[in-house]
């Protein structure tokens, strides 16, 4: 039986990783991820978790050590944020291309300069094309549930891909929330042991990481892409299995009061809960608007996105990252391209805001929706709208 506990989200992640009996944790400290790995180091040092904790000298080495540990078949976890994720960047591609099932919590953080330890999704978006499965979360419960699911998704023989679980820096990582912490028995029932099919082992020598000349590189990348696209069915299956054991449901795109709405707001991460309150207020004011939230960022849920927006006339999106010199927010631009082939599609008004820890509160979302509706009628010469910027 799960127990209801008031606990900091970062600490709860550590507790869940302990329950998975992880074998290796390699991590480097970076705000706002530190509490996660501090707690894991503490669990290891108290003998509560029998694992090797490698206090590496950089995030580049953190992810590199994870490659090695996953390659011998050890259950492997790490966590990072912002600059740390950027320093890992080239290693991320290797993890997915070499089919190494690593689970990583990312406490989403803005990127320098100017230095900012506070949250936004700039770090996430820079890793968009690295071939990892990526999941957004909105509250502590979702973070720990999806951390647990991430191990099962990553290690499934049909998948064998690394998974990032995104939680907003500070807004989630440092929040103390009441959460249902799973029991060991429940975790054991849900998560089978890691049985990596082709580990490095002197009794069965194999070569991993050969270089690929032009004659095979394209096929190697296509095999990887095929695999990532196909992971979708396993991801859905894992969430279904999770719901059987724990009674909580997850899906790639989730709707809140969307039925029959002509206007939809679209968000991801912890801001979605604030946006829900704004939707309630707007509905009370007689404005017909619903909320759609993105949970699965990679592989991108095209079918669910198209289905969620098929009857809408206006779609208002918020990105917490800026594609500099480009179309505004990366998520918004992917939504637009997903909708483009449809005969009937909503007008999309894109906002970029909530950068570097700048909060958007309930009235902020109300204002955003009203402005979005207005712009959908009047049109705009801008590719996207900046939200909450002092000019």
């Amino acid at each position: 039986m799960s127990t209801k506990t008031g606990i900091e989200v970062s600490i709860a992640i550590g507790e869940v990783v302990k329950l998975t009996d992880a074998d290796v944790i390699a991590a480097y400290p970076i705000t706002p991820q530190t509490h996660i790995v501090e707690h894991l180091a503490e669990l290891v040092s108290n003998g509560e978790l029998n694992a090797q904790f490698i206090p590496v000298e950089s995030e580049h080495s953190a992810m590199s050590a994870c490659l090695g540990s996953a390659a011998v078949g050890a259950r492997t976890f790490t966590a990072t944020a912002g600059q740390g994720l950027e320093l890992m960047h080239e290693v991320l591609y290797v993890a997915s291309a070499m089919r190494l099932p690593i689970v990583m919590a990312v406490a989403n953080r803005a990127l320098s300069a100017p230095l900012s330890v506070w949250g936004d999704h700039s770090d996430v978006m820079a890793t968009r094309d690295t071939g990892w499965i990526q999941i957004f979360t909105e509250n502590g419960q979702e973070v720990i549930d999806n951390t647990l699911c991430a191990f099962r998704m990553a290690e499934d023989k049909r998948v064998l891909l690394p998974v990032m679980v995104h939680l907003d820096g500070f807004h989630l990582s440092h929040m103390i929330e009441p959460m249902l912490l799973p029991s060991q028995e429940e975790v054991d029932r849900f998560l089978p042991p890691n049985q990596y099919p082709l580990p490095l082992d002197p009794s069965k020598p194999l070569a991993m990481g050969d270089f690929g000349p032009p004659i095979v590189y394209t096929e190697a990348k296509w095999a990887q892409e095929y695999n990532l696209l196909n992971s979708r069915s396993t991801i859905l299956e894992v969430w279904k299995e999770f719901s059987k054991v724990f009674g909580r449901n997850y899906s790639p795109v989730e709707c809140y009061r969307c039925e029959g709405c002509k206007v939809l707001l679209f968000t991801m991460g912890s801001f979605s809960e604030t946006a829900m309150s704004a939707i309630d207020n707007l509905r009370n004011q007689g404005i017909d608007v619903g909320l759609v939230r993105l949970r699965l960022w990679r592989p991108f849920p095209f079918a669910e996105v198209r289905n969620a927006f098929k009857d809408a006339e206006v779609l208002i999106t918020l990105d917490r990252a800026l594609s500099a010199g480009g179309p505004g927010g990366p998520v918004s631009s992917e939504i637009k391209s997903a909708l483009y082939p449809l005969e009937k599609r909503p007008k999309v008004v894109s906002f970029v805001g909530g950068l570097g820890g700048r909060d958007i509160n309930v009235s902020g979302f109300e204002e955003m929706v009203k402005r979005g509706i207005e712009i959908s009628k009047t049109g705009s010469s801008k590719e996207y709208e900046a939200f909450g910027v002092r000019e």
Binding site: V56, S64, L67, G68, A74, P202, P213
Partner: protein, 306 residues
């Protein structure tokens, strides 16, 4: 030591783990070293290879020259990947999830991957005390990308990024002392070696592999392509490197230096330099400068080993 070369080959393990068919250049001292490394260490190893010549010549998909488990990921992270493998083995063994007892993790990297881009990962892994053997195959430049200087390139050598020109005499710095940097991490065993003295090298590798904790063997690997020398004198040039004092072979065991081949009278450095095109632009003054530095360094090393 040289008299041993007649019968020692007969004592060499027959089994090969770095297989023929790789695409190293003719006369490659690095491939020679690696073949002997594999013979010395046997089959109970996991090899982590940095990007570089040896990775490229041995691994074109779908082929491999490796008969032992082998992994290559990136250029600068070899020691970090080795850390992860070692920790993974330790963890799996302790939980009886797998039995990988006695498996030695061996990192293999070139001088650029060790002395330049990978020095941070190496330093981290040494400091944390992982149980692994790190082998630097030093051919004194970035040969794989076309002979660019590294911090292990010797003073005066012409490379494509330290070219000898009208106002320059080639490499402008002295070779970085990697073994001393590694030894400063208080690791139990550090050694230098050259495949020209293969018995010495193989003994050191076996010793390094048998010691628990981080150990390091720095192997001078003659590169005819990059050093602009004849392809049939690789072994001879390696010997001259040792006998002139350009590359002395020694061990540092728990901080204590030991010279493995005492040379009462060093041969003049010019005997070594003149066989290589990378040094052919050197003036007498420059050669004198190199000679002075080598004599001085060797005397200091002898003092330490006394």
């Amino acid at each position: 030591m040289e008299t041993q070369t007649v019968y020692i080959p007969k004592l060499m393990p027959k089994e090969e783990f770095f297989m023929p068919g790789h695409r190293a250049c003719i006369g490659c001292g690095e491939a020679l070293a690696l073949r002997l490394v594999c013979k010395a260490l046997g089959s109970n190893v996991i090899v982590v290879n940095a990007t570089g010549c040896m990775e490229i010549v041995s691994s074109q998909m779908p082929y491999t020259s490796w008969a032992v488990p082998w992994i290559h990921t990136l250029f600068e992270n070899t020691a970090a990947v080795a850390s992860g493998i070692e920790a993974g083995i330790k963890s799996l063994n302790s939980k009886s999830k797998k039995s990988l007892e006695g498996v030695k993790v061996v990192a293999v990297a070139g001088d650029g991957a060790t002395a330049d881009i990978g020095i941070q990962a190496l330093s981290g892994a040494l400091e944390r005390g992982h149980d692994f053997l790190y082998i630097c195959l030093d051919n004194e430049a970035y040969m794989n990308t076309g002979i660019q200087r590294s911090s292990a390139t010797p003073f005066g050598a012409h490379t494509t990024t330290s070219p000898a020109g009208k106002v320059s005499m080639g490499q402008f710095t002295w070779k970085k002392n990697l073994p001393a940097i590694v030894a400063a991490h208080n690791v139990p065993y550090v050694a230098t070696a050259c495949p020209s003295y293969f018995k010495d090298m193989m003994t050191k590798l076996q010793k390094a592999a048998s010691i628990k904790g981080p150990t390091y063997v720095h192997i001078l690997s003659v590169c005819p392509t990059g050093w602009r020398c004849a392809t049939d004198i690789t072994v001879k040039i390696g010997r001259l490197a040792v006998q002139t004092g350009m590359f002395p072979i020694y061990e540092i065991e728990n901080g204590k230096y030991k010279l493995n081949m005492d040379i009462p009278q060093l041969r003049p450095v010019n005997e070594y330099l003149k066989l290589q095109g990378r040094f052919r632009h050197l003036s007498d003054d420059m050669i004198k400068k190199i000679q002075e530095r080598v004599t001085e360094d060797y005397a200091r090393l002898k003092e330490r080993a006394a």
